[in-house]
Amino acid sequence: MDGDGEELTAQETALYDRQIRVWGADAQRRLSKAHVLVYGMKGTIAEFCKNIVLAGVGSLTLIDDRIASEEAFSSNFLIPPDENVYGGKTLAQLCCDSLKDFNPMVRVSVQKGDLSSFDVEFFNNFDVVVVSSCSLPAKKLANEKCRKISKRVAFYTVDCRDSCGEIFVDLQDYKYSKKKLEETIECHLRYPSFEEALSVPWKELPRKTSKLYFAMRVIEKFEEAEGRSAGEVSVADLPGVLKLKKELCAVQSLNESHVPDTLLERLVTSTLEFPPVCAIIGGILGQEVIKAISGKGDPLKNFFFFDAFDGKGIIENISNSNA
């Protein structure tokens, strides 16, 4: 837990002054040694990248081979809307160019490839892996690969649909310290993998579990069953989605009122991200990643939901023990 002994430079102290006052110099040193990988460069991830580049992580690697299109920059401020600039470039390249400029002390780079094609060795290069806008099987697979590495790799998934957002966190076996009154106490949390969390029977979850949790699972399943990529749904899919919801609720013995049709309708109708929600989810995710790297403060376990409709930002603990 010591800060490795190295001192921050005068330049770092001046630049990071205000945040060192929040999390301390040793946390700042740990941040500057952390390597972060993100996959899927949409608006929420752009917000997240901005936050951790400003915070001063050691390096950030971006993956997204999709070629920039008009839809891509609707909620992504890292992509200049000038076709002469974005034409022919991948989203990862464009975001990398912008992010480099934010903080010269952070190494930002691009990696090409599909998430599923990377092996365990590749993930071993990182301390934090964040994936977005990809299929359910791809998320599970990436999570499992991270779990095979002997050091702890913090794994996150994040997605925003319409005015809703979801974060999943897997810190595996996580020890951290927190200040309680004058004392520093050591805490220990055990996280389930994405797969394990999703396999918790719905009827075992508390009655007040966020409706978004169930709705997101229904949409995810629908996309998987139909062979769609993430977010590739429209209002035309609503009947299919509602049918799947009925089936899932029946199998899981969950009252259908926990997955309101109106919520599902919102989630399939508008596939564009809502920029204020990107800012909120990207902000919360940034904070969580900083906590996980610095080992300071209570991390959230293990889902976070935000819906602009009711304005609530809720933490749900969805794990086998539910402890």
């Binding site: 005068a10 809307p81 927190k178 902000g283 919360i284 933490i315």
Partner: protein, 631 residues
């Protein structure tokens, strides 16, 4: 529907700092096309960790203008109009405010927030207000007649300390900082004509004040080394000895230890001129540094008493040798390295006398400069919430308005907690017409005291006008020449002796033309005041007392201010904060359960943000960063 409301909206942002940068970006991405932005500040290095529209190369430039240019790069076809100006400037009057559909505050001080609140009330434009400190933040919506105004809840007063705690009996490091900054620094380098309590308590019993006064003045031929040691021995040695001679004071306290330079720096005294490196060259006056001069680098280090003493003497010397022209008119500035070094060292030496643990320069700077913790993530979250509320305001979706708290620790599983806004406080002196009452000694207090301590400091007026029934007593701003003399004569007069005398029972009308804000003050004459508890010798009361009036019993909004001792979460963003005294509990008691609104069901026990310790949980040994100031 939402997108039409957004496209047609004309919004005013006040502040282009931490929240402002995030907000401007999110507004632009969300489809807003006409945004005006006011900020008087220029960009500093310590902004760059979170104000992401700014780069190193922009340091020194206008925040509003650079923010505009940066956002136009990813949204080239929208209109952003920057004003590098103070929102309190007269050009931003009620008519200016009336052109906007909504005003969004991302401010860093109470004064400006109150000013904007009044203009929004006068112009009848909705205000979305916000603030952050560390991981905490809040967004509130203020719509005239519909929800409470920004000033319906009394705001916590800036923290002040009894004078004798500072001058004679410090028990915390912050007391030493206040002493070093507001007394010693001001005495040595500030305006000589300012009142200064540095010696009053410790010496008036023993020697005439004129003699003591001489100690601080450097004689023309006086060697700077000798002068420094003389000051050192006087304030850390002699003054402590004097204080010790007052046995009564130390009956129940630990006795302080006098410190003399010869005891600390005995080895260096052997050398004729000390051992500081006088060849050290500095680029400009703001890079003059005692740390650099002594080869000390890490601002996080905690210095020994000897190191503090060397820094003290070296900083004092450098002020006279390198910044001589500043001496006599300096005020403490947290960005003045040499001033921070001097204050840190002086506070630490004083702390050593009183058995208080020392602090690093980094920490001392935070305390002395009232520096607020700030991170990008909280500002981003808050900006997102502001835009969500703004869209509701534009759609006039009153039922959906929420104030939202961003918490560090979840409360009932929530990190972002929305709460229904309160109704206007019927006895708010700002948005209702409730008179205030003022206890004051009308035979002793001058009109000037009333203007400074009440009208400006408490009522937050910028350009006040004061009337006693139909007689004008005072008016600030542009007035005719013949009136200037009358007003300045009035200022010096005791209230009871004004041309139209102000005595017990008088009702004064105080008005700010720019804010279009009027309030009435009932004067109550009172002879005596407690010097420590009521240092202004005036007690203003009114809207806080009235709140639990019986007719308000079933009006929850009126209740919430009265039944709690404190105010809401007065989070605030950025550097020059004037109040950030975080987190008095705000219990949302007696809030009606709106049918079908599950958010309301458990609010009896709902408490927004707990105790102060939570705030600084990651930096446990730093005290709260409140405004600390001698009254």
């Amino acid at each position: 529907m939402a997108s039409e409301a957004i496209k047609g909206a004309k919004v005013l942002m006040v502040g282009a700092g931490g929240i402002g940068c995030e907000l401007l970006k999110t507004l632009a991405l969300s489809g807003f096309r006409d945004i005006h932005i006011i900020d008087m500040d220029t960009i500093e290095v310590s902004n760059l960790n979170r104000q992401f529209l700014f780069r190193q190369s922009h340091v020194g430039q206008s925040k509003a203008k650079v923010a505009r240019d940066a956002v136009l790069k990813f949204r080239p076809h929208i209109n952003i109009k920057p004003y590098h100006a103070n929102v309190k400037d007269p050009e931003f009057n009620v008519d200016f405010f009336k052109q906007f559909n909504v005003v969004l505050n991302g401010l860093d001080n109470l004064d400006a927030r109150r000013h904007v609140n009044r203009l929004c009330l006068a112009a009848d434009v909705p205000l979305v207000e916000s603030g952050t400190t560390g991981f905490l933040g809040q967004v509130t919506v203020h719509v005239k007649g519909k929800t409470e105004c920004y000033e319906c809840q009394p705001k916590p007063a800036p923290k002040t300390y009894p004078v004798c705690t500072i001058t004679s009996t410090p028990s915390k490091f912050v007391h030493c900082i206040v002493w070093a900054k507001d007394l010693l620094f001001a005495k040595l380098f500030g305006d000589k004509n300012q009142d200064n309590d540095l010696n009053v308590r410790s010496s008036d019993a023993a020697s005439s004040s004129e003699n003591v006064e001489d100690v601080f003045v450097r004689r023309n031929d006086e060697d700077i080394e000798q002068y420094g040691k003389k000051i050192f021995d006087h304030v850390f040695g002699y003054n402590i000895e004097l204080a010790l001679s007052n046995e009564e004071t130390w009956k129940n306290r630990n006795r302080p230890k006098p410190i003399y330079s010869k005891d600390i720096l005995s080895d260096e005294l052997a050398q004729p001129n000390g051992n500081v490196d006088k060849k050290c060259a500095f680029d400009d006056e703001f890079s003059v540094s005692a740390m650099a001069s002594l080869g000390m680098k890490n601002p996080q280090d905690i210095w020994s008493l000897k190191e503090n003493s060397r820094i003290f003497l070296e900083a004092l010397r450098l002020f006279f040798t390198h910044r001589g022209k500043d001496v006599g008119n300096l005020t403490f500035d947290k960005d003045d390295q040499l001033a921070v070094e001097f204050v840190t060292a002086a506070a630490n030496i004083r702390a050593a006398s009183f058995g208080i643990p020392p602090y690093s320069l980094f920490e001392a700077k935070g305390i002395a400069g009232n520096i607020v913790h700030a991170v990008a993530t909280t500002n981003a979250v808050i900006a997102g919430l502001i835009v969500i509320e703004t869209i509701k305001v534009l759609q006039n979706d009153i039922k959906s308005y929420r104030m939202t708290y961003c918490l560090e620790h979840p409360s009932r599983k929530m990190l972002l907690m929305p709460v229904e806004p309160f109704e206007p406080n019927k006895s708010c002196y700002v948005c209702s017409e409730t008179p205030l009452s003022l206890e004051i000694n009308t035979k002793r207090a001058k009109l000037k005291d009333f203007v400074e301590k009440i009208v400006k400091a408490k009522l937050g007026m910028n350009l006040p006008l004061i009337m006693n029934s139909s007689n004008l007593l005072y008016e600030a701003g542009d007035v005719e020449d013949d009136m200037v003399a009358i007003y300045s004569a009035n200022l010096e007069k005791v209230l009871a002796e004004l041309p139209s005398p102000v005595t017990g029972g008088t009702m004064l009308t105080v008005e700010d033309m720019q804010q279009e804000f009027v309030c009435n003050v009932n004067i109550k004459h009172r002879e005596e005041f407690d010097e420590e508890k009521e240092p202004d010798s005036m007690v203003l009361s009114g809207w806080t007392q009235h709140v639990s009036a019986p007719e308000n019993k079933d009006k929850p909004a009126a209740n919430n201010g009265a039944s709690t001792s404190g105010a809401s979460v007065p989070a605030a963003e950025s550097d020059e904060i004037s109040i950030v005294s975080p987190t008095k509990k705000r219990k949302l008691t007696d809030v009606p359960n709106a049918p079908g609104n599950e958010a309301r069901n458990h609010q009896d026990e709902l408490q927004v943000i707990d105790d102060e310790d939570d705030l600084v949980m990651l930096e446990g040994n730093m005290e709260g960063f409140k405004k600390r100031k001698l009254s």
